[in-house]
């Protein structure tokens, strides 16, 4: 273990912005992808009269 304290861990030897900027954005985009795909997989597709295009889901 080479971190003396929690703040030392978050400082990342002065590179905190770069390291956490990388990990933060990665976590965010992966989380967003999962949310969007789960939503898409649950959206009622309805029974369309035609085939071909993607459904728009539940129209308002």
């Amino acid at each position: 273990m080479h971190w003396g304290s929690v703040s030392e861990f978050f400082a990342m030897g002065g590179y905190g912005l770069y390291v956490w900027g990388s990990y933060g954005v990665t976590a965010l985009v992966l989380f967003m992808e999962v949310v969007l795909v789960r939503r898409r997989a649950r959206t009622p597709t309805g029974i369309a009269g035609h085939t071909g295009d993607y459904p728009t889901g539940t129209e308002k």
Binding site: H2, G14, Y18, Y23, V25, L30, E33, V37, A41
Partner: protein, 242 residues
Amino acid sequence: MALNIWKYASPQTFFPLAGRMIPVFTVLAIVFAVVGLYIGFFVAPTDFQQGEVYRIIFIHVPAAWMSMFIYLVMAFWAGVGLTFNTRLSSMMAHALAPTGALMTFIALWTGSLWGKPTWGTWWVWDARLTSELILLFLYVGYMALAAAIDDVRRADKASAVLALVGVVNVPIIYFSVQWWNTLHQGASVNLTRAPSMAASMLTGMLLMALAFWMYSIAVSLLRVRAIIRERERDAAWLQDSA
């Protein structure tokens, strides 16, 4: 009776199978990520040249590997769909594209945040970086082309041709650091010689690569289920199950 693997080429039989596989790959992804991040942040030593900023490697390299690997798998399924007219193959290719594009984005984004403190610049028109950016455009172009054509079967065929032509870019990315004099460093991990990094760094990186791989499989299977539901929504078998 021999096991007929071809029956899973039908969306109807693949749909529940994919549903059962998703939790398995999700759990694997979480386990690999937890162990990989623990090793990456608490076991792997500080790099003697770069200090702590090198810890970006634990997501940068796995994302970059996946960005190339997913493209090859996507082009493979697109090619199978084009050749054999198997619907599920084309759906699989479409399911992989957004995740591949996301991996490419992560590789570029983390690379940029790594480049600034180590090279002094966010971006440089270096062969490795430029060819990876072209990969992002190929993914986006593939998705845009598929979405622009109303007839699904025609969209599958046209986008498959684009995916297959774009395969030429993958070896260019991979070998760019050897073929050209790039600012980007050469490969630290190679099949033919010992890796030029500490064992714990390598372990963390490989575990994170496995985590990204399992994640990509899980999310692509979920997306292919969504695509199957959308495309087969008139089919009787889906009326009860989805």
